[in-house]
């Protein structure tokens, strides 16, 4: 379980404790937090990696994936630190991945069965996003900016995230398409707290992501 974090001192311990209770191995990638995120993790049985310089969430994820590969992980989960995901979704995702014999499962807050308190404007922005993602990657997901994903070791070997910042969800899609990975979607709950709203992507970040995607396409 890979949890990238940047200045998440307030919530990181809660998030991580919940994950640990379910018995998952946790890799924290601290993207050079300026707060005392590390102190908050004291005593918890987690792997802790720290970027010496702030590189962005995409970079942190890839670092975590590299580390988990070294540790011989079988399944890789990307999980946001802000507590918006529900750990109880994971077993279902694993089951679904195995049942469908898929390479990667994308969490989706918009599939039937998902519980979410996503706002209307966010819904709209995410909806725009998925069409744009479809245009660039050729893959249509119901929720293409969900931080919760699960994939196998073979998939982890095939993909490499080079979009250091916010465009990495799109890169996941592009790599999935490029490597012809079998992908499925699974309904997951998203709980937006005031904290995660303040911390997470803003709707206007969409513009930045567009720009980064544009550069990615040019310089690939």
């Amino acid at each position: 379980m890979i949890i990238p974090c940047y200045n998440e001192a307030k919530v990181i311990r809660n998030t991580v404790t919940e994950v640990l209770e379910k018995g998952y191995t946790v890799v924290i990638v601290d993207d050079c937090s300026k707060d005392n995120s590390k102190k908050k993790l004291r005593g918890l049985p987690v792997y802790y990696l720290r970027h010496r310089v702030n590189m962005g969430q995409g970079a942190a994820l890839q670092t975590g994936i590299d580390f988990a590969k070294r540790k011989g992980a079988k399944y890789f989960v990307t999980f946001d630190a802000d507590g918006q995901h529900d750990i109880n979704d994971i077993p279902g995702m694993v089951e679904y991945l195995e049942k469908e014999n898929a390479d990667i499962v994308f969490g989706s807050r918009f599939l039937p069965g998902a519980k979410t308190n996503v706002s209307r404007s966010r819904s709209f922005a995410l909806n725009m996003g998925r069409y744009i993602n479809y245009l660039v990657s050729g893959i249509m997901l119901s929720d293409s900016f969900n931080g919760l994903r699960l994939f196998s070791k073979q998939t982890a070997d095939k993909i490499r995230i080079t979009e250091n910042r916010m465009a990495h969800p799109v890169e996941f899609l592009m790599l999935t398409a490029a490597k012809k990975l079998k992908h499925v979607e699974y309904p997951v709950s998203i709980h937006y707290s005031d904290y995660s709203k303040a911390k997470g992507l803003k709707n206007r970040d969409g513009i930045k992501i567009l720009f980064e995607m544009f550069l990615y396409k040019i310089f690939r």
Binding site: V29, N36, K38, K39, L41, R42, G43, L44, P45, V46, Y47, Y48, L49, R50, H51, R52, V53, M55, A59, Q62, T63, D66, F67, R70, T162, N164, L215, I218, F219
Partner: protein, 120 residues
């Protein structure tokens, strides 16, 4: 021949750039020749701007200044693209560096020394 103020300014600027390039590159004969050519051509076109019109007419542009502007925009755009791709390559290498460092230093927090484990 009447020399206008802008011609003086431009000539001085070109001369300064040439001197600066010479100081930066300094080395080889080739550089000196290149800088010399740049200086000569630049000064020539500044002092005899009508000559650029002939070139412009030849390729189908009404004025020499316009032709120069078009090519300058294209060249600058090309330069920006080159710089951007260079920047991305640098960032990729930098990421690898930071990543390998953090992988080396990966810790298992629960194995920390007791003093580190005190609650704050």
């Amino acid at each position: 021949m009447n020399i206008t103020i802008i011609q003086i300014i431009l000539t001085v600027c070109i001369a300064l750039i040439a001197v600066y390039m010479y100081m930066r590159l300094r080395s080889g004969l080739f550089d000196v020749i290149l800088i010399g050519l740049f200086f000569a051509a630049g000064t020539f076109f500044v002092l005899f701007p009508e000559t650029t019109n002939d070139i412009a007419h030849y390729v189908g542009v009404s004025k020499g200044a316009n032709l120069f502007l078009y090519s300058a925009i294209l060249f600058l755009f090309f330069l920006i693209l080159k710089l951007y791709s260079r920047l991305r390559r640098v960032e990729e290498k930098f990421t690898e560096l930071v990543r390998s460092k953090s992988l080396e230093e990966a810790e298992e927090i629960f194995k920390g020394t007791p003093s580190e484990q005190e609650e704050d």
